[in-house]
Symmetry: C2
């Protein structure tokens, strides 16, 4: 008999194929589990699969008396109430670094698209303006990557992979994070200092209540009029209203966003702007990224059901 | 008295500011010079400034009896009839490598935009589909950069800068060029072999009659259904009709183009496609790129008028 695993959040079926070959999946598909399954069915559930960025509080855990493991598909676990889990000795696992390369690639895709104005360039051709020799919105050359100082906020696995990619573009790389590491990049000792130093700010920090809206109007202003901000971490790190204001007023030149304050949603004020590149939280969404995340999910589930510690366990605090 | 320099092709005024401070510029602005200036005026012209990609044949040189130097703004000189120039001992200069970094950055911007489907992602959010939870065109994950073999056609200064950038994305890098170099990348001994080996083909070869339409339907087919082609060299290297066919039939997955068969023009068949990213030949168009190109132009002109060899001289053959 395969072990049962309750899927709490919505995942495309294709992402569950490998996992379903080893486990009996009960799919709540984003609904509260007690709206889909009986108390008896939930009573036997020992492990759940979750999207780490989505809310998973003590109320849901309370529906699952035998719950022993919360396994997050992906790197994030900011939606999980770690204290509530710890209080019940529920292990929490994630897929650390599994999609770090894909997310770092997306950070660069958005950085280059914003700095080199790819959407504007593409639109200028598609609407026939180029062929008609209309004045180009790209006429006035702007600073490319070579003349840039690029600041990375957060220097975990994703931040490091972003840094090594950015360095290949002959940009200067600096970073701010809680800790200073032995890395060949300039360390700035506050987010303010980083924003003063750089003109491109890439957000790669692990999100939590303490990072909420830290990238605010003041930080954006420090980037300067040729500044760009890129976020592949969590929407909560940026004050989204302040960002919209900065893009509208041209306090900064552009932005690239894979994450938003409230997903799946980007406000009309944002989608109306020409100087922003938008992506629907697909940073880690590559074939190789998913395979690696599934490897971590399977390893965590197999270990748990074998009575062993999770190989990829999240430690609270 | 500043020396006279005839500007043969159209350049934005902003790009001529520095040059006009040292020379008296006669601007033909893309017209045949004898339509703008008298034979007497043209009789005193010893140096011309040209866009290297645009035609400059013996007929134009014949209008300028004292012509001694053709100075190209940019890396390219494929529009210049080098034999006609050599027959008259007219020196030809360019700006080698001046904008190589900017062009290489654009190659990566287009590669990442194509592989990670940035236009599709952005459109899915802007048209409200994401917020309405409509089926995502990005649902089925595709191979990102990490699992890719990336082939570079041409290994001059731009090709090398592309290679070092691609390598930072944890992709395997291979190349084909006339010569094999001592470089840490796999060498394939034909364009066919390169296309068989890689799934992303980046064209960085110096264009000329011998490279015309070398990237044809056969080469594109060899890239495979998850293949992408990126061109930042010259439009003539790709058989553009074959490329449109391959994108329509999904013989390959996508393309990123900064250059086109006939500029400024992209056929309606191309601009109607969702799986291509288009840019209006702006690869080298950055602040730092223009400053470096202007440095080369000034150095070539100053040397010529001082009776010295051009520091950045193009050698025929």
């Amino acid at each position: 008999m395969p072990e049962k695993v309750l899927i709490l959040h919505r995942f495309p079926k294709s992402q569950m194929v490998r996992i379903s070959q080893s486990f009996e999946l009960m799919d709540a598909a984003g609904k509260k589990p007690n709206e889909v399954f009986s108390a008896e069915e939930l009573g036997s559930v020992r492990a759940v699969l979750a999207a780490g960025g989505q809310k998973l509080g003590g109320d849901v855990m309370a529906l699952l008396p035998k719950l022993g493991a919360i396994v997050c598909y992906g790197t994030g676990y900011d939606g999980v109430d770690l204290k509530a889990a710890a209080a019940r000795k529920i292990a929490v696992g994630n897929s650390p670094g599994a999609n770090a390369s894909s997310v770092a690639d997306m950070a660069l895709a958005l950085t280059l698209a914003s700095v080199r104005r790819i959407l504007v360039a593409d639109g200028f051709i598609r609407d026939g303006s180029w062929a008609a020799s209309k004045p180009s919105p790209l006429m006035r050359p702007q600073l490319g990557m070579g003349g840039r100082k690029v600041g990375i906020y957060g220097m975990g696995e994703i931040g490091r992979k972003i840094a090594s990619r950015v360095a290949a573009f002959e940009s200067e790389v600096g970073y701010f994070s809680r800790s200073r590491y032995d890395l060949p990049y300039r360390y700035l000792d506050s987010l303010e200092a980083l924003a003063d130093w750089c003109s491109v700010l890439i957000i790669a920090v692990r999100a939590g209540p303490e990072t909420n809206h830290l990238v605010n109007a003041d930080i954006l202003r420090r980037l300067g009029a040729d500044g760009h901000v890129v976020n592949i971490a969590r929407g909560s790190v940026i004050d989204q209203a302040a960002l919209i204001g900065a893009l509208k007023e041209k306090t900064i030149a552009g932005a690239g966003l894979d994450v938003f304050a409230k997903e799946p949603q980007a406000p009309d004020e944002l989608t109306a702007l020409p100087n922003v590149v938008l992506a629907p939280h697909v940073g880690g969404h590559t074939l190789e990224g998913h395979l690696a995340m599934q490897d971590c999910v399977m390893a965590n589930l197999n270990a748990f059901f074998a009575g062993k510690p999770l190989p990829y366990e999240v430690k609270a605090g």
